[in-house]
Amino acid sequence: MTDLVLAWLTVFPGYTVPLLLASLGLVISERAGVLNLCTEGLMAVGAMTGALMALAGYDPLLAVACGALAGAALSLVFGVATVVFRADHTLAGLATVALGLGITGVVGRPYVQKPFDGLPRLSDTVWGADLPRLVGQQNILLPLTVLLLLAVWGWLFRTHSGLRLRAVGEDPAAADVVGIDIQLTQLGAVLASGVLAGLAGAYLSVAAAHVWVEGMVAGRGWVAVAIVIFAGWRPWGVLLGAGLFGGAEAAMLRLQTLGLDFPIYLGAMLPYALTLLVFCIACARRRGENAGPAALGKAYLRQDKH
């Protein structure tokens, strides 16, 4: 039993980290009032770019960074469409997902199923050989993610610029009056979410699977969108939500390797069903009360008559 738990704990971060990163990005974007549904596409682009760079023989960390950049680049398209051209956030988000999946399909096709070395475990690095097994099995992105979580939380709720960003999402008219550039802020927030979603995608390919497969994001981007709502747009809630989904996914895998006669695909379905269930409970509990940023998904224009 202890072995099982230990084994589960070892793989747990691998399933949680990408969701956590993507959801954190969404928190930033949606706290600034931009309803962001494009994560699935951004993650795909990040994963593919990371894999391509790794296959080309670049340093895995550089590959991960390129994945993040690719996510940012695609999110810029979404940002310009919604913030500058004031397109409907939901539709533009879905269109961006289509773009992302389309790009990865077209560009990544020749590189499918080609394994590469990817990001090494901590225990395989020069300085990490003596780490205990639980930690040693992880890679460098885990501590980075923890730092990012702390940074995003501290920035949003403990700094002046975080206050300004949240003001944009809550009440753009009030934010405008105090000289905050609504569009620049929202564009910045969308870009940040793109970086984090790209990072999450690159984690999937470069750090976890060490291979690029089409459709490897497998709906995790959508799960991230659900987690953010479940979490009430709070970084710590996101940690809980990502942990729940990642934990369930990791547990399924562990149970299968134990040779338990449990149908594989029903097991793979379980985390999604669990997410839906938890999401419903969260919605039912705060029924009627809108916990999200007050101006989420609404276009603001100073010259409109208020």
Partner: protein, 517 residues
């Protein structure tokens, strides 16, 4: 809080004193919204050390010109001169930097943030980045200086409207505003709170600030202002006249045109009881309606006076069936409608004209004939369920539009194109159609020009004459006094017993509106 206000020391003011260049000079301002003229050649002059009244009808351009002065709207033409300097106001921050602060009708406060967070946010806008703790200290100090209590740690959406207003004023002062524009500040306040606010405005002026008071209430102007500017139809029709040499009659004529003293409506004959509320209790957010009792007879127009936000919207939503009461009963001529759906209430003859017609009554993007047919679909008047008769919808609309004298559109016009008055007439045409027994009208003439307002009120009177019972919920005492044979006051979720005859007078209503009982 009023006592604190009178005892407090004089607030610190800007360096500028009276007798120098005007604090604010707006010259020849034009502004149009997509072709609709809001201002044409308007001007405004404000001096240091004065309280300046800006008066006019709704839509006369008062708020628009002040929004130009605060950089919210860009004027199509004209110049803005602040303290003798030609200042390009490209954004609200430019105006703040130039020392102009405005307390809008809808406060520019972030509801989910605390007062201190809002202040920190605002100060950051002019480059003074301070922590929340420091901001809280500033708020405490400033509120002590002004003589009222305000908790800097309180979330804005949780505090009363009067407190929100104080937070907004403190924010504007901390931003260093020498010029303070107050947009209808007393509309949301009780009498006592309003007095306190106006005396604070006076003290600010004495300290060297320049204060603009946009208001509808002429008595406030007479009692508290030094000079007055009147606007009508986007123009300045009375430019900075000293109050001492101006009579209110003159102001009224300039602002509202020639208005005959309105005769009170003669009550018709009253029939049996139609609407009865028994011990109605409702809770919605921060508002609670506490044990409402009310009886309304056929042919009666009963007024419900009171400052907005005291439970009016909740009462309307509850009567409409959108809000379930915790307790109590709603009867329409002995039929229990407490748990009935909006559709069932409508069928029983209960019709509601809500305060915001485009929010919860009319559909902007549908034509008038569609809007007018919406509520009659189930009756089969416009064809069976499997086939609508567009022709009968159109005929119905033509008749209604003619009967209610709706101008500016035909059956195929989109509702969004209509002016407020005509849209309201369309709504009344729908709600006062056959089968109406009780009409609940919430601020039915707010925002309408005088002529439309009179037409709309006359429609209500006519329906009462035909035997409908009418509940008129309004903040406008004059409207209540003219229309209603009896009226009750809604204050903090409680409804006073109805006043009628000699008891129904402004003084008594005012007392009930501010009373804390």
């Amino acid at each position: 809080m009023t006592q604190g206000a009178t005892r407090s020391q004089t607030p610190s003011g800007p360096q500028k004193k009276a007798g120098q260049a005007p604090a604010l000079l707006l010259r020849d301002i034009d502004k149009a919204f997509d072709g609709k003229t809001a201002l044409s050649g308007a001007s405004f002059r404000l001096d240091w050390g004065e309280v300046h009244a800006l008066v006019g009808e709704n839509g006369a351009g008062k708020s628009t010109i002040m929004n130009v002065a605060t950089g919210v709207y860009a004027p199509d033409h004209g110049e803005v001169i602040v303290d003798g300097r030609d200042v390009p106001l490209r954004s609200p921050v430019d105006a703040v930097a130039a020392g102009i602060g405005m307390v809008h009708q809808h406060f520019r406060l972030v509801g989910r943030f605390t007062v201190a967070e809002n202040v920190a946010l605002a100060l950051g806008g002019i480059g003074r980045r301070i922590g929340i703790g420091k901001a809280a200290q500033l708020v405490k100090r400033k509120s002590a200086e002004l003589g009222f209590a305000l908790d800097p740690e309180a979330r804005v959406e949780r505090i009363s409207v009067a407190e929100q207003q104080r937070a907004e004023i403190i924010k504007v002062l901390l931003l260093g505003a020498g010029i303070m524009i107050l947009d209808e500040p007393t509309a949301v306040l009780t009498q006592q709170e309003a007095e306190a606010l106006l005396s604070m405005a006076r003290r600010l002026a004495q300290a060297g600030h320049a204060v603009v008071l946009i208001t509808h209430k002429l008595q406030e102007v007479a009692d508290h202002c030094d000079r007055i500017t009147v606007m009508a139809q986007g123009r300045t029709v009375l430019d900075a006249a000293p109050m001492a040499q101006t009579s209110l009659a003159q102001v009224t004529r300039k602002a509202f045109g020639e208005v005959k003293e309105q005769e009170p409506v003669q009550p018709g004959t009253l029939g049996g009881e139609l609407l009865r509320l028994e011990n109605l209790r409702v809770r919605h957010g921060a508002v609670t309606l506490d044990g409402l009792n009310l009886s309304l007879r056929a042919g009666e127009i009963l007024g419900i006076a009171g400052v907005g936000g005291n439970g009016q919207s909740e009462l309307v939503a509850c009567l409409n069936g959108l809000l379930r009461p915790l307790d109590g009963k709603i009867f329409l001529a002995d039929e229990d409608l407490t748990a009935a759906s909006p559709a069932k209430r409508r069928k029983a003859g209960l019709r509601v004209v809500p305060a915001d017609r485009f929010d919860s009554a009319l559909v902007r993007d549908m034509t008038l004939s569609e809007n007018l047919a919406l509520t009659g679909l189930e009756s089969g008047r416009f064809g069976p369920w499997w086939g609508l008769s567009r022709r009968s919808m159109k005929r119905n609309a033509e008749n209604s539009l003619k009967e209610f004298n709706v101008l500016g559109g035909g059956p195929e016009t989109r509702a969004s194109v209509l002016s407020g008055g005509n849209a309201q007439k369309v709504l009344l045409a729908r709600e006062l159609a056959a089968g109406t027994r009780v009409v609940v009208a919430h601020s039915p003439v707010r925002g309408l020009d005088l002529r439309s307002a009179r037409a709309v009120l006359n429609l209500l009177v006519a329906s009462a004459r035909q035997g409908a019972a009418c509940l008129l919920i309004s903040e406008d005492l004059d409207e209540i006094l003219r229309m209603c044979g009896s009226a009750a006051v809604l204050n903090r979720g409680r409804l006073s017993p109805p006043l009628s005859g000699a008891d129904l007078n402004p003084a008594r209503l005012g007392e009930l509106m501010v009373g804390h009982a």
